[in-house]
Amino acid sequence: MGDCESIFPTYDAEQHVIAAALHLVKALGASENLSDDMKKILTDFDTQLSTMTKLTGSKAGLICDVEDQLKCAQEKVMCWQSSQLTIWDSDPKEVSEYLQAVDEVRRLTESLGNLLSNKNGKQKELLDRAHSVLQMAMVRLEEELMHILARNKQFFGPRCMSFHSYEEGVVFDESIVSTEDDSVEDTSRGESSGTESEEYIMDSVHPGVVSDIKSIATVMFASNYDQEFCQAFTSFWRDALDEYLIICKMEKLSIEDVLKMEWSSLNHKIKKWCRAMKSVIQSYLASEKWLFNQVLGEFGSVSSICFFEASKASMLCLLNFGEAISIGPHPPERLFCLINMYEVLADLLQDIDALFLEEVGSFIRIEFHELLRRLGDSVRATFVGFGNQVALNTSTTPFPKGGIHPLTKYVMNYIRTLAGYGDTLNLLLEGQDREDGQNISSHIFGPMAHHFQSVTSILEANLDNKSNLYKNGSLKHIFMMNNIHYMVEKVKSSELRTYFGDEWIRKHIGKFQQHATSYERATWSSVLSLLRDDGRNPVKAILREKCKGFAFAFEEVYKSQTGWSIPDPQLREDLRILTSLKVIHAYRTFLGRCSTSISDKYIKYTADDLENYILDLFEGSPRSLHNTWR
């Protein structure tokens, strides 16, 4: 460094500064009320200054040294500046040398800024140069950071890959409006809830580069370029999450779009939303939070602020879809989706509270809780509104054949599916309808049982109205019997049993049996009355008339009631047996009475014939007996 003197002709001034500092340190050291730590620092400083005095004094030159160091570090920085290669892709030795060089420059800016007098033009120039080199290095580090992140970002595979087959859950697409169509399928809750709680903490980036990212963070923070680091780092992860939502097939939709959307596609989107919500919160953000804490944990609240900024926009988008659904109309078939959404959020509540634990994240936490509350309200309103929908379902024509009305099927399958959501619904309905004290069922089985029973009461009342449309009194009873029997069977054979209880089942078995009895009476009493022994001596002509009249009446019944339908084979069988017992018994008695008086040719049907004909009843396809009568 032969030209040292020419660059720093005024190193005298330098000596003044050092001398003054030395003086200051000594003066401070003389003070009595200093802590031991402080004293030690001053002593160290003292030694250092003394060495410097010696150095400058001996013309070795601190400034030369500083310039030397700067030049050396600058060369290192500049040589990468012109290179097309990325530093972190090359030798680890290169990386550590580069970081060392940058740290050197940083320390030089500090010591130059602290120690050198501002009046000295050359020193200012040196400081400026150091800052300039530092700035270039910072830009470079930011680029390297982006490069490392982009290269090493892990793609969250498994959950996304299986999106097509994953968790089908409940499909209950039927609308109550379409109940005239007979196609309501039984649905039950899929085995979805058990398989989803697995922890999916994965790595946001390749684990090997976390320390690289951290080293960049450390040097940028130390150089006061923390804002640049946070901007770049946060922006990267904000965009990454945005991309992840695209991978999860979450479209950006306005609330208006959602409200106008067809139910089938909306249903589809809700399912995707449920999955995306879970995987974003449980795995994606959980691992991102971990990374942020690894990289930024030692810089205080910076980590949580950056994490919040990086996840906010996408979280809002996700929550917003939920809002749109909760705003929309709630026909009964949406209830299952709403409950699914509610349950997904309720399950994630703890995760959300942990992810956004800090004050800065309260924005998301509050939004999340608000959405959960709103979805709960929607579930409740939809469920309560279901009863009204059932009540409002009116028909103008009698249901053909007296079979099981689609409304009955719909309602029973609907509540049977709902039974799978017992815990959630009981929780949501808790505290509702408290004034309804006289209903003991709600105390025994919980609020949902109460609601179920009130829905079935509404259904019964509605069926009763529908049954009044029949002109034929017997068919009315068949209709009621069929439908109440269906309800009982549904309750008996499913989880609903626990909500309705044996008492309800007994009562309703009684009800449909009553209708069966009423049917017997309505159809057969008049027919059998034709055979009645009126106590007088049988007159041939009268017996013949009776016989003819009975056969005619039986044929009429046969003609109409073969067309009626009792879909349940057991019930059909029972009613036929009941009918047979009554009819055949009466007929045999009658035949016994008149066998002596009239010849067989007047007796059109034997008891066995009748028994066989009765087996044709309630099959749902009208037939008629050959009418050979004249």
Binding site: N118, Q135, E142, S254
Partner: protein, 443 residues
């Protein structure tokens, strides 16, 4: 204005009590009492009519025993009061005509962050008052009769559109915060003494990103937006880094709007304001006017937000929407509309920045500072350095204002969002109760 105070101080409990709907009538009562007692005319009338206490009077109204005339009078009173409050609240938002007489510092500059916070407060107050009148003691059958059978569903329809605007604005505020952070970097760099090459370059980098984002033209870049990822260089080029020029794009943030691609703020406002017609004088129900006033307030607020805060596709945003000039309560709003409309005309074609006062000042300073940075030579002239120092101080001041105001503003926008959602549910419940609607609600 005591009434305003009452509302703003008790916004939370109020909305709670209102959300209990009419079945919990007793909770709404305290509000109704204060509503009535605040109106001198109604106090007098109550005694004139010898109907005893307010409580009595309200329950009579609720039971619909009161004669049509009485009902009508009450409606007119409510309306008069509502109009007065709307007029007063909007007058407070008008910049004072005479600058010398007012302490300028105490006034919130038109379109500043603090002005918008006030505006949103005004909206929340108007909305609460509207709902109180709507929910309380009305004969529910009138909701299913003209003109309300049409007006209320229309209001609900506009509310949904407003929700989407709120969402867009929430994201827009995030973008403004991003600008604030870039400006903060500029301040950190140029606050250093002496300013050297390194600081200037640091500032320039942030300024360029800031200005690119501020002047980003939605229309021109619409197509490349989604495909061009600022830092995709690593992946796209199979690991080999591109040239340095490409890499420096690192920090540029294209406005990622978080709404549907086809969504347009301008169209949304257009749809909200179209067919907005003031009820004719002779209309039988005062509620029609209530609905009209609230709708106008809603449209105005959303329009002003869209004009000021960046959001997707604002080209063609109308500079005004028709409010009849003869309406007394609307004078202040019309005044504001004209001022904002003029500003918008000046600014329309200039990128995403929007009319937010802080953003506009930030943009000017950024432009001036980038000029300084471009021509910078070490060491800076003393005069120039002083000028820059003043500008940096102003930029720092703007950053502070944004820092303090933007987060609460964003929270307030969410509050507006949730309020609209809740009210919508309540109005739908009302309509539900009133039974057969003549026209089905679209959603």
């Amino acid at each position: 204005d005591f009434f305003l105070l009452f509302f703003s101080s008790s916004l939370k409990p109020l909305s709670l009590s209102l959300s209990l709907s009419s079945s919990s009538y007793i909770f709404v009562l305290p509000l109704s009492l204060s509503l009535l007692s605040l109106s001198k005319t109604s106090t007098m009338r109550a005694t004139d009519n010898n109907q005893g206490s307010f409580l009595n009077r309200i329950s009579i109204r609720r039971n619909q025993v009161v004669s049509m005339d009485g009902n009508h009078e009450q409606e007119l009173e409510d309306l008069e009061l509502f109009q007065k409050h709307v007029a007063d609240r909007f007058s407070d938002l008008l910049p004072p005509a005479d600058h010398s007489s007012v302490d300028v510092a105490a006034v919130d500059t038109l379109l500043s962050v603090s002005w918008f916070r006030k505006l949103l407060d005004v909206f929340l107050c108007c909305e609460a008052e509207f709902k109180a009148v709507l929910v309380m003691g009305r004969d529910p059958t009138q909701f299913s009769k003209p003109p309300l059978d049409k007006l209320l569903p229309e209001l609900l329809d506009r509310s949904v559109k407003a929700l989407d605007v709120c969402n867009a604005i929430t994201h827009g505020v995030d973008l403004v915060r991003h600008w604030q952070k870039l400006a903060r970097i500029v301040v950190s760099a140029l606050e250093q003494r002496p300013i050297g090459e390194g600081q200037v370059r640091r500032a320039k980098k942030a300024l360029n990103t800031l200005l690119t984002s501020l002047t980003f033209d939605d229309k021109e870049n619409n197509h490349s937006k989604s495909t061009e990822r600022a830092w995709s260089f690593g992946r796209n080029r199979g690991g080999a880094a591109g040239n340095n020029k490409d890499r420096t794009a690192g920090n540029f943030r294209s406005p990622s709007w978080s709404v549907a691609k086809s969504w347009s703020a301008a169209k949304q406002i257009q749809a909200m304001s179209s067919n907005l017609v003031a009820p004719r004088g002779g209309e039988p129900t005062g509620l029609a006017s209530h609905v009209y006033i609230l709708t106008t307030v809603l449209v105005f607020v959303m329009w002003a937000l869209v004009a000021a805060i960046p959001c997707q596709e604002r080209n063609g945003l109308s500079t005004h929407f028709p409010v009849p000039r003869q309406l007394g309560w609307a004078q202040a709003m019309i005044g504001l509309q004209e001022k904002i409309g003029e500003e918008w005309k000046k600014k329309e074609k200039k990128g995403t920045a929007g009319l937010l006062e802080e953003t506009q000042r930030m943009e000017k300073l950024a432009q001036s500072l980038v000029e300084f940075a471009d021509s910078f030579q070490f060491p800076a002239e003393a005069e120039k350095a002083e000028e820059v120092a003043a500008q940096v101080a102003e930029l720092a001041d703007i950053c502070c204002k944004m820092e303090e105001g933007l987060v609460p503003l964003q929270q307030q926008i969410r509050e507006v969002f949730h309020r609209i959602v809740r009210s919508r549910t309540e109005v739908l419940d009302l309509l539900d109760q009133s039974g057969k609607l003549s026209a089905p609600v679209p959603y």
